[in-house]
Structure formats: structure tokens, C-alpha cells
Amino acid sequence: MKIEDIVSTGTRATRDGFGAGLLEVGKQNPQVVALTADLLESLQMQHFKAAFPDRFFQVGIAEANMMGIAAGLSINGKIPYTGTFANFSTGRVYDQIRQSIAYSHKNVKICASHAGLTLGEDGATHQILEDIGMMRMLPGMVVINPCDANQTKAATMAIAEYYGPVYLRFGRPAWPVFTPEVQDFKIGKALHLASGTDVSIFATGHLVWTAIEAAKELAAEGISCEVINIHTIKPLDEEAILDSVSKTRAVVVAEEHQRNGGLGDAIANLLAHNLPVPMEYVGVKDSFGESGKPLDLLEKYGLGKKDVIWGVKDVLDRKKA
């Protein structure tokens, strides 16, 4: 596909896609159950609760207990989806996830909303930027960060078909929707959005759209960007990444996360071992966030369209040198 052909059909929060997907997968699979820690509507789980009240568990503000209960439910063959903010889905309960879910290889789907800076006004206490790193370090954990509401819905449904622990990350703000309403979501399969020859831009989550916008502007300047949506950070689609990089020999990675530990590090690790090329990170530089509007925050912390453009120009300079 050409970059100019990728257009947004409107905006919708990725968490809405989660709520819709949870309801749908609940209809399809009677083993699906859901839990929340006092954030029912923030996660858009009220639809599932209304449809399947017996299969829904309100645990109160007690995330550690929620993770343990989810592990226990999975022992009976249930497929538990836990829902709370990304901050409370990871760092707050890391040891519970590590022991009772990951090490025990339980079929629990940890669904995490309000990830990253775009949570906005609530500020740094809630804006987790380390969650991808924490979760991808756990052996056997699948880590997914879809790019828009449609893809989040598809991912929410697809993870029920996979046996094992999954971390599904999404966000709060209304965000451009540009993937099809109905789509086949394959865990671990990168999505090639636009072909290009000068540089590969690998992006995940909200920043996929940012990368598309940047690539459109760069195309007007005559720079040809290959844009790839890495919705699954673990397992990483190594083949797709190496194929693209062997052609472009230059990489920019964009993610709403710390530069430490996220998608950038995962790709750097892959390339260091296989195909070292110049690479730039678009991500938060070892800092906490703050209160503000989502787009203003992305700009202030270096995660805007212009940051992707600068990243591309920097990496192309290094490629020429």
C-alpha cells in the first residue's frame, strides 16, 4: 500500500475496541470470564458485565488479589481477562504476575488501559512508560500493543484462541482509526503498512498513526519510508523486521514508552545480533510524564510527528556517512 492511501475514518479510543472485543469474544467462547479492580467503565467492560453477569467479577481496589483469582480461574479451564489501568496491571502486581501467572504458565489475559503519556491530565502517577519492558522480560509472556480501536477489538478476540499469558496494552484517548473494522489478527505477525526504500519505521500502539503521518510528510520531500506496525512486541516478528532492514539499512522505532526496555530495545537486540545498521529511537528519554493534554504531552516528551521526521533525517545522515 502507498502511504497516502492510509487514511483515518474517524477517531475512537482503543479501550472502546477492547470493550467491544470482550463482549464479542464472550459471546463466542463461554469459557471467557472477566475481572476488574474498580475500573469497570474506564475499561468499557460494562457491556460484558451486562451480557454475562455470572462470568464477571468485581474485585474492588485489590489488583494483587485480582491477578491471583484470575490464575485460579484459569486452572478450571476458564479464560480470564483482567482489566485495570496499565500501571496497576504491571508494576503494582509484578510479583503476582511473575509467580502465579507467568512462571505457572496460566492462561490469563492481562488487559491494560490508559497506558503511556496519552492518559493525560491524571499525570505521572498513572502514566506508565515502563510496562512493555517489564512484561517482555517475563519468560513466556506475549506482549501486544494494537494501533487503533479496530485492531484492539480484533486482538482482544484473538488472544482467547492462544493458550498462555498475554499482556494486552491499549489507551484512553480518542485516536485515529485506520485499520479495517473486521480484520484477522495474528499474534506475532507484523503488519506491513507501506513500502519504502530509504528507511524502515517500526511503530507500535498509538505511535503507528504518528509514524504514518510523518511518512506522508517525508514522502512529499522525496524520502521513501517503509512503515511497519509491530502490534506484537513479543514474540517479535524477526523475519519481517530483518527483511525490511536488509533493504533500507536504516531504522527508526516509535513507541509511547521509555526508550529503555521497550520495542526499540527489542529491535536493537535483534539487529545487533543479525544486521547492525544506524537506528534512532522515538520514545521517552528516561523521564516521568506530567499532567496535560495527550497531544501536548506527546510533543513535549519527543513523541510527536516532527520527532519521527527528525529521527528519520538523523538516521539517513548516519546511513550516508
Binding site: 467479577f57 490464575a71 485460579g72 478450571n76 511473575r98 509467580q99 505457572s104
Partner: protein
């Protein structure tokens, strides 16, 4: 009780197993294991409706057991082996490289009988509640059992779980607290007192049973059966089970000093002299 003398003999053999396993590798936790021997023998030998072979993770229409204080793995491994979950000879691999009998219990190496990893304290009760809710959803009438340490109750997650189980009337759940009053750094009352434990559980809405003689096999069996009869009445059931850490070996008894320490050769010989061989045979 026709099989009572067999269970008494099993208790003695389990104590021998615990000490031999720990002595073998000069590591592990003998104190709490010895103190909970009667509990495990009563549970697996008399109370649980379970099917060791083939072991099925889901345990449909069976009772499930979760050990929250995973460090007392020696007693659990011994009882699992001797009730048919895996070969008794495998006890010899405890804590050795490539073993399924890891220092703390885990599903990771596929040891039959284990349904979740434990060791990092305070998590088992939440998992047991989840399993109990799963049984309820499935219309499965069997029970879920969980053992926790007393010092472990200092972990806050337990109180989240205790509050949840009562509010949600999880009444197919029987939690037992190994109330030996000891933890690694000393008596509970000196480290961080649990206060009035029965009153706390009651205030949280549980049906509270206190077992004074947690090292009396007959008393433990009777109490577990009583707890089962108290299920299905809208409240989760807890047994506060008074035990003596290190029970059965005089110099290990009633002190925290043998929580996580192996005996040396001389101490081992002295302990074994107090636990004569049984017809079941050593591993």
C-alpha cells in the same frame, strides 16, 4: 477408622522423608514441614476426594489443594509421592539440578499434584478463591483447600483475598492457617504480631474454627471433616490450626531456628533415632 494406623505410620514415614530430603542437599525447610505433617497426611490420606493418576490440572469433580507457604515443599512432596502422584524414589532428587522437585513447588517442570507456583508469600489464597469461583461457575460440587502460614498473613494480599471471599460468599473454600507462632526472624509476636487472629477473621466475615491440636492426626481429620460440613452455608471457612514447628524431633520443636536450616550429620542421626523406620520404607 480402619486406615488410621496406616495414616499414623505414614506420618512417621513422611517425617523421615522430610529430614532425609533436607539432609541430602543440606537445604530446605524442615521446621514448618514437620509441623504440618499431620495436616497433609489427614488431607491427602483421608479427606480429599482426588485422583493422583492421571493427574489432571483442571481437577473437575475433584477437591483441589493449594499450598501458599511453598517453602514447606518437603512435606507436600513426600505426601504427594506416597499417595501416588509420582514415584517415591523421585524424592531423592529434591532441590537437585534438573529435578521436578524444585526448592519451592512449581508447575514449570510438570510435577503432578501442583497447580500453581508458590514461594513468594501471600498469593495462594487468591488463587484458591479463583479456583473455587471456577468450580461454582461449572456447578462442580467439590471443595478447594488452601494452607497458608501464619507469618505469611503479614502480606497484605491475604486481606484483600479474605475480604473478597466473604463478600462474595465463596463457601466451597476451606483455608487452614498453620498457626505455629513462628517465622524466620522469631516468634510472630516479636516480629509483627498478628493480634487476635480469630477475631480478625470473624470480623472479615468468615466461619472461624480453631484447632488446638494440629499435631494430633485424629483431631486434624475430625476438624477437616467438620470444616467440610460447614461449607455451602454462605461463608468461607477457616481453620486456625495450632501446630508446633519442628514437631516430632525434640530439639527442632517449638522454635523458629529450624525454619530453613538443614541438620548436620550428628543432628540428623539424633533426629532419625527419634523416628524409627516404618514398613513403608525410605526413598
Amino acid at each position: 477408622m480402619a486406615d488410621f494406623s496406616k495414616l499414623t505410620e505414614l506420618s512417621q514415614q513422611v517425617r523421615r522423608d522430610i529430614l532425609r530430603m533436607v539432609f541430602n542437599v543440606q537445604s530446605g525447610h524442615p521446621g514448618g514441614s514437620l509441623g504440618c505433617t499431620e495436616f497433609f497426611v489427614a488431607l491427602y490420606g483421608n479427606v480429599l476426594k482426588h485422583s493422583p493418576k492421571p493427574f489432571k490440572m483442571e481437577g473437575k469433580n475433584q477437591d483441589l489443594f493449594f499450598l501458599s507457604n511453598g517453602h514447606i515443599s518437603p512435606v507436600w512432596y513426600s505426601v504427594l509421592a506416597r499417595t501416588g502422584y509420582f514415584p517415591v524414589a523421585e524424592l531423592n532428587t529434591f532441590r537437585k539440578l534438573n529435578t521436578r522437585l524444585q526448592g519451592h513447588p512449581t508447575t514449570h517442570e510438570g510435577l503432578p499434584g501442583i497447580r500453581v507456583a508458590s514461594g513468594s508469600l501471600g498469593q495462594g489464597m487468591s488463587v484458591a478463591i479463583g479456583a473455587a469461583l471456577g468450580k461454582r461457575l461449572d456447578g462442580d460440587p467439590r471443595f478447594v483447600y488452601c494452607l497458608t502460614g501464619d507469618g505469611e498473613l503479614q502480606e497484605g494480599q491475604n486481606w484483600e483475598a479474605i475480604m473478597f471471599a466473604a463478600f462474595n460468599k465463596v463457601d466451597n473454600l476451606i483455608v487452614t492457617v498453620d498457626w505455629n507462632g513462628q517465622q524466620i526472624d522469631g516468634p510472630n509476636d516479636q516480629v509483627l504480631s498478628l493480634g487476635n487472629l480469630p477475631a480478625k477473621w470473624k470480623a472479615f466475615g468468615w466461619d472461624v474454627l480453631v484447632l488446638e491440636q494440629g499435631n494430633n492426626l485424629e483431631a486434624v481429620i475430625a476438624m477437616l471433616r467438620k470444616a467440610k460440613r460447614r461449607c455451602g452455608k454462605g461463608k468461607p471457612v477457616v481453620i486456625l490450626m495450632k501446630t508446633e514447628m519442628g514437631y516430632g524431633v525434640d530439639f527442632m520443636q517449638g522454635t523458629h531456628k529450624w525454619h530453613g536450616k538443614s541438620p548436620n550429620q550428628e543432628q540428623f542421626d539424633q533426629a532419625m533415632a527419634q523416628l524409627p523406620k516404618t514398613t513403608l520404607g525410605d526413598f
